[in-house]
């Protein structure tokens, strides 16, 4: 080293430590600064301040921004990096961060305003690697002797450790908050005496039934006014004021959730939180919603109470024992029945109510169940308070805990004394009945044998059994007699051989079996073939025979020979046909007769009329030539002719009622009577006659016949009127049901007109009431009352033609009454 300045010459470097020595040793003559001796006062004093400072300081000086720094700054450059940088150009030393500090230095140099940074991350190379280093630093201007800014003093502290520590703190706080939020319990922190909610985790919000927006940063009692009136407010105040922790279990709180006030049970604690000054500034609430558990327990205890109530009220005796069989509880019924006290019964005390003879067995089996964990079931007697034993069916069931181990036993004793008595009685009855049945069975067997015997011996009926396929399985005497086969000839053969070839071809035997199988039975009458080929008329009943499962297993067949009956029926049928033919012939003859009556009457009246005409001509023209006797005889002849004419007219009318066509029409009774009044005006006038119609009705009748009927009836009344009394005829009509008609042969299922005609004439004796309607019947001599004896027969005939009837009643001298019944609707 050629150049070696003396440290004593440079007091500003004297206290400069290692860096002072390095400055002194550096050959500054080769730099733009020149030798130390030539340095400006300002530089010297600045360096004096820097080098003696215990804080890390750095100086960029001059055009080239030559680097100076003190011992405190040295560690920031690391062990193995930029050091020693004294006297080197700033841009070269800090090449790795020049982009960042270059502009800063320039800014300070130009403006002379200091620039400072806090916890600034600056990555630079030291200790053999690039490290992220945090700095808090200040760049401030350094002036030269002329007062111009000629450098930048960097005062700095490396805050890497502080920053990292702070970071860790923040992370830890973040974790805490996250932990609070994710905690499986409700955690909330309230600030100050107003309890402003600072933190409330999701659990808390769930518990409260509120959203974060509703509670955060608001006083909790404002956000949840339902708490105001509750104990919890006082507790929270007390914790805040006294700093004492409060904790409670299953504490009931009323909370409004979804608009509904609900009772919630919580395990919770309130803890005070202290600030750095040791004062309480916040309160923390930690809680767990245990409502479900509380409610469940309440339910269990309710259900337990229910169980006890039930167990006390069942008709059985019941009890519960520990796993080892020590009975700790009996129901009320037990005490009622035994008359013992709980103290006497507790544990194994129950033995005192057992029958000593059975007790050993009971104990042995009970212990066996306890050891093996098996259900206990046994019937034994238990002594009641009256000292009598009754039979009980005892069942004991193990009750398991969650692990599947027996925790206790539940026992019940059911009084089966009555059942036992009943069963004993039943057994006795069954035995009795069995004995009876055996007897009955025996007699049934005998009866069956008898039945078989009878069937076998029946002569008039073929009775035999067919299997499912129609094969004959047995044969009785009747079968042999009717069909000629002997049992050994036919058993095992198909029954279809009893049928004619035609019936076999059309499958009749199979049809009959099928019908019997499906409907239970089939019947048929028809020709059957005997062994010798001859036919007989048979009535056959085939009945299906079922087994217990309802399946057809065969058929019974009963055949009756109806040949005789058939002959009789055929003969009857023939007779019937013959009768019908005869009847038809009769009807034909009758019709012929009627038409003969009509034609003959008609033809008879022609010559008769002419006889009358000739007679009248002779009487008129030859009056003078006849003697008195002759004239009288002529008059008699004329009367006979008139009588004959009347007879013929009536006969014609009578026969016409049969031959004429029946045209029904509606006519009013009034119009009919009006017409008759006209026709019979003279006769009525002569008798001072009066016809009174009471009911004006319309009837559906054969017009001419109906008119004829009334004409004849009224003529009849006129004819048989009393000479001394004016004639009065009353006619009424009424619609009546068939049931009210007093005529036996008329059907009752329809309605009738009841037309009644009464007169005040001479009447007749009741015994003639039927005879007056008979043809040619007269009650009086011809000289007294003219007439042919046909008029009322015609009336009767007409009533009958209408499907009706007429009857007469009367008393001699009291008038006559005719009752006509005609169906309302045409028959």
């Amino acid at each position: 080293m050629e150049y070696a300045p003396n440290p004593s010459d440079f007091p500003f470097l004297a206290k400069g430590g290692e860096m002072g020595k390095l400055i002194l040793q550096n050959d500054w003559s080769k730099t733009s600064l020149g030798p130390i001796e030539s340095w400006e006062i300002s530089l010297r004093s600045t360096l004096g301040v820097i080098l003696s400072s215990p804080f890390p300081m750095f100086l960029f000086w001059g055009e080239e921004l030559l680097c100076f720094y003190n011992d405190a700054y040295r560690p920031s450059l690391g062990n193995n990096g930029k050091h020693p940088a004294i006297g080197k150009k700033g841009k070269e030393v800090w090449a790795d961060i020049w982009d960042f500090i270059g502009p800063l230095i320039e800014q300070v140099m130009n403006s002379a305003e200091p620039v400072s940074f806090q916890d600034q991350l600056v990555a630079f190379y030291r200790n053999g690697r690039t490290e992220d280093i945090y700095w808090t630093f200040c760049y401030s201007a350094a002036y030269d002797d002329s007062g111009r800014v000629n450098g930048v003093v960097v005062t700095c502290t490396e805050t890497t450790d502080t920053v990292l520590t702070k970071r860790k703190l923040e992370e830890s706080e973040r974790r805490l908050r996250s932990m609070i939020h994710q905690a499986p319990v409700s955690i909330a922190i309230f600030q100050g005496p107003q309890f402003i909610t600072e933190i409330a985790n999701n659990r808390s919000l769930q518990l409260w039934g509120r959203t974060a927006e509703e509670v955060l940063h608001r006083p909790i009692f404002e956000a949840m006014p339902e708490l105001l009136s509750q104990e919890i407010q006082g507790i929270l105040d007390q914790v805040y004021q006294t700093g004492e922790i409060f904790s409670a279990s299953e504490f009931p709180v009323e909370l409004r959730r979804q608009g509904k006030l609900e009772t919630t049970y919580v395990n919770f604690s309130f803890e005070p939180l202290f600030n750095s000054s040791g004062e309480i500034d916040r309160t923390m609430a930690v809680g767990i919603d245990v409502t479900d558990q509380v409610v469940a327990r309440q339910k269990i205890s309710e259900s337990e109470a229910l169980f006890r109530a039930m167990a006390d009220n069942i008709p059985n005796l019941a009890w519960m024992a520990n796993a080892d069989g020590w009975i700790y509880w009996y129901n009320k019924k037990w005490y009622e029945y035994t008359g013992k006290t709980p103290e006497e019964m507790e544990g194994w005390g129950w033995q005192s109510v057992h029958d000593p003879e059975v007790l050993d067995t009971v104990l042995a089996r009970w212990k066996h169940s306890l050891e093996q964990g098996e259900i206990f079931e046994m019937t034994f007697p238990i002594k009641g308070k009256d000292g009598n034993f009754r039979q009980f069916l005892t069942r004991v069931m193990p009750v398991y805990d969650e692990k599947g181990a027996i925790s206790q036993w539940f026992g019940s004793n059911t009084d089966i004394q009555e059942q036992k008595d009943f069963r004993d009685e039943l057994e006795r009855q069954v035995n009795e009945r069995t004995a009876e049945l055996l007897l009955l069975n025996d007699s049934l067997k005998k009866s069956e044998e008898r039945f078989h015997h009878i069937v076998a011996e029946v002569q008039d009926y073929a009775i035999f059994y067919l299997n499912r396929d129609g094969i004959v399985e047995n044969w009785n005497a009747g079968a042999e007699k009717i069909k000629y086969y002997k049992a050994h000839e036919i058993v095992g053969r198909s029954f279809s051989s009893f049928y004619t070839a035609e019936d076999q071809v059309r499958g009749l035997p199979q049809q009959l079996l099928a019908t019997a199988a499906s409907q239970g039975r089939s019947t048929q009458e028809g020709w059957r073939v005997k062994k010798d080929g001859s036919l007989f008329w048979a009535s056959v009943v085939i009945t299906a025979v079922h087994n217990n499962q309802g399946e057809v297993i065969g058929f019974s067949k009963v055949t009756h020979d109806l040949s005789d009956k058939k002959e009789a029926a055929d003969a009857l049928e023939a007779k019937k046909t013959e009768l019908e033919e005869k009847n038809a012939e009769l009807q034909r003859m009758n019709k012929e007769l009627q038409s003969f009556a009509y034609i003959s009457s008609h033809d008879l009246q022609e010559p008769l009329r002419k006889i009358q005409t000739f007679a009248s001509r002779i009487l008129e023209k030859e009056q003078a030539n006849l003697s008195d006797k002759g004239r009288e005889l002529f008059a008699r002849m004329q009367r006979s002719a008139e009588q004959m004419q009347a007879l013929i007219n009536d006969l014609l009318a009578y026969s016409r009622t049969n031959t004429a066509e029946h045209v029904y029409q509606k006519v009013s009774l009034a119009s009919i009577l009006e017409r008759i009044k006209q026709d019979l005006r003279e006769e009525l006038d002569e008798k001072q006659g009066e016809i009174v119609l009471k009911d004006f009705v319309e009837v559906n009748v054969i017009h001419f016949q109906f008119q004829q009927m009334f004409y004849n009836l009224i003529s009849n009344s006129i004819k048989f009127s009393r000479p001394d009394t004016p004639l009065r005829i009353t006619i009424s009509a009424e619609r009546i049901p068939g049931t009210a008609v007093p005529v036996k042969h008329l059907p009752q299922d329809r309605h009738y007109w009841h037309i009644q005609l009464s007169d005040n004439g001479i009447g007749f004796e009741q015994e003639y009431k039927d005879r007056i309607f008979e043809l040619f019947q007269r009650l009086h001599g011809k000289s007294e009352y003219k007439g042919t004896g046909i008029g009322l027969s015609i009336v009767k005939k007409i009533a009958e033609n209408h499907g009706g009837s007429i009857g007469a009643s009367g008393q001699l001298g009291q008038g006559a009454t005719f009752d006509i019944y005609l169906p309302v609707e045409r028959v």
Binding site: Q612, T613, S616, Q645, N649, R656, E661, F704
Partner: protein, 148 residues
């Protein structure tokens, strides 16, 4: 009976009845021309032949061989040139149903052959005067049968 110019046609198969009818007209002093036919066929033949000089009125018996009075009536009433001739039924029978059907066919009156000659005479006379008074107009059915 002053009108000399009217002619009556009687259709009746019975000779006696024809005689009675003639006698009645004579005694009634009806001076009409009477033509007589013996049955329905003759009646229709007569009318066909005398189309230019038809009778003023026909008395028609019902029971006639070969063609009955009722058949003749129906035929005449259907015939456009004959249907105006008034027809008086002249019969022994008085079956109301038959009368009804004849009225419906268009017969003018119904005269029953009375047994007593004086009655017969008066009923024929009454029929003729009814016909003349009412100039062939069919009466109400209740007056169809000419009564004594």
């Amino acid at each position: 009976m002053t009108d000399e110019n009217f002619s009556i046609l009687l259709a009746d198969d019975d000779e006696d009845d024809r005689m009675f009818f003639q006698d009645a007209l004579d005694e009634l002093l009806v001076s009409a021309t009477l033509h007589v036919v013996n049955n329905g066929l003759e009646l229709m033949g007569f009318l066909e032949e005398n189309m230019h000089q038809l009778p003023h009125v026909i008395f028609l018996d019902l029971n006639m061989p070969s063609k009955s009075g009722a058949e003749c009536l129906a035929e005449i009433k259907k015939h456009e040139k004959l249907n105006a001739i008034p027809i008086i039924i002249y019969s022994t029978s008085a079956n109301p149903e038959v009368m009804e059907s004849l009225y419906n066919l268009g017969a003018l009156y119904y005269v029953r052959k009375e047994g007593d000659f004086s009655n017969l005479k008066s009923v024929i006379g009454k029929a003729l005067s009814l016909w003349q008074q009412n100039s062939s107009r069919q009466p109400h059915r209740s007056n169809f049968l000419v009564l004594l």
